[in-house]
Amino acid sequence: MSSSLPEQVTAMEQAARAVPNGPAAAAILAAGIGAFSLGLLTTLAQASKAVAGALTFAAQVGPLSGKSTLAVVAYLVAWAILAARWRGKEVHFAPVWTATLVLLAFGLVGTFPLFYELFPSR
C-alpha cells in the first residue's frame, strides 16, 4: 500500500533535517569571498601601478587577466577549504549569510568605477 500524502511530506521533512547545511554554507560563503577578492583586487590595481602590472598575466587583456583569475582562484580555494571544514556538519547559517552579504557588498562596491577611482593611481 503506498504511503499517504501527509506521510510522504513528513518523510521528506525528516530527510531535509538529516541533510547538514555545511557544504551549502561553504559554497555560499566562498562566493562572498570570491566577490570580495574581485573588488579588492580591482581597487588595489587602480591605486597602484605596481599592483596593476603584477596583475597583468596577459598583456592583451591587461590587469583584468590577473584580477579575474585570482578572484576565481580565491573563490575555489575558499570553497575547498570551507567544504572540508564543514563537510557533514550543521553550521549556524545566519552569521555565514551575514558575512557573505558583507563580502558581496564590498565586492560590488570595489568593482564600481566611482568608488575605485577615488584611489588615484601611484
Binding site: 511530506v9 521528506m12 587583456v61
Partner: protein, 170 residues
C-alpha cells in the same frame, strides 16, 4: 549580412551566451521561488527538481562561457593599443570617453560576479535536490544570490550593447 570574425565572436559573447543567461533567469527565479513545501506535493517536487537543476546548471556554464569569451577574446580587440580600436575611439572623443571610463570599466569587472554566484546557486540546488523545499533560509539566500548574478550580468550586457553601438568591434 556577413560578419567578420570579431563581430561573430562579439555576437556569440553578448547576443547568444549573455542573452541566454539573462532570459533563463526568469525561469530559474520562478523555479526557486515556487519550490516550497506548502505549494508542492512530493510528486510535484520530484517533477520540478530535474528542470530546476538543468536550468541552474546551464546558466552557470553559460555565465562562465560568457565572461571567458568576453575577457579573453573580445576584450583584447576592444582595448588594442591602436588608434582605431573601440577603446581608443571612445577615449579620443570627450563626448564618448565616459562609455569606456564608466561603462566598460564597470562591465568588465562586475560581470565576473555572475558565474561565481550562478555556480554557487547550482551547487546548492544539486546538493539539496527536492529537500530544498524544506530549507527556506537556504532557498531565500539562493534567490538573492541568483538575483545578484542576474543584476551583474544585466549591467554587463546593457553596457556591452551600448558600447558596441558607440564603438563596434569590427
Amino acid at each position: 549580412m556577413s560578419l567578420t570574425d570579431r563581430e561573430a565572436w562579439t555576437v556569440l559573447h553578448g547576443m547568444l551566451l549573455g542573452a541566454v543567461f539573462l532570459l533563463a533567469f526568469a525561469g530559474g527565479l520562478a523555479g526557486l521561488w515556487s519550490l516550497r513545501a506548502e505549494f508542492l506535493t512530493p510528486g510535484g517536487l520530484r517533477e520540478r527538481i530535474p528542470r530546476l537543476e538543468i536550468g541552474v546548471l546551464v546558466m552557470a556554464v553559460v555565465a562562465w562561457l560568457t565572461v571567458i569569451t568576453g575577457t579573453w577574446i573580445v576584450y583584447p580587440w576592444y582595448r588594442a593599443p591602436t588608434p582605431d580600436s573601440p577603446r581608443s575611439k571612445l577615449l579620443a572623443n570627450p563626448n564618448t570617453a565616459l562609455w569606456h571610463r564608466f561603462g566598460m570599466e564597470w562591465k568588465e569587472h562586475v560581470a565576473w560576479l555572475a558565474p561565481i554566484l550562478a555556480t554557487t546557486v547550482a551547487f546548492v540546488v544539486f546538493y539539496y535536490g527536492p529537500r530544498l523545499a524544506h530549507e527556506p533560509k537556504i532557498r531565500n539566500a539562493l534567490i538573492m544570490l541568483f538575483t545578484l548574478a542576474f543584476v551583474a550580468a544585466a549591467v554587463a550586457g546593457l553596457f556591452g550593447a551600448f558600447l558596441n553601438k558607440a564603438a563596434p568591434t569590427t
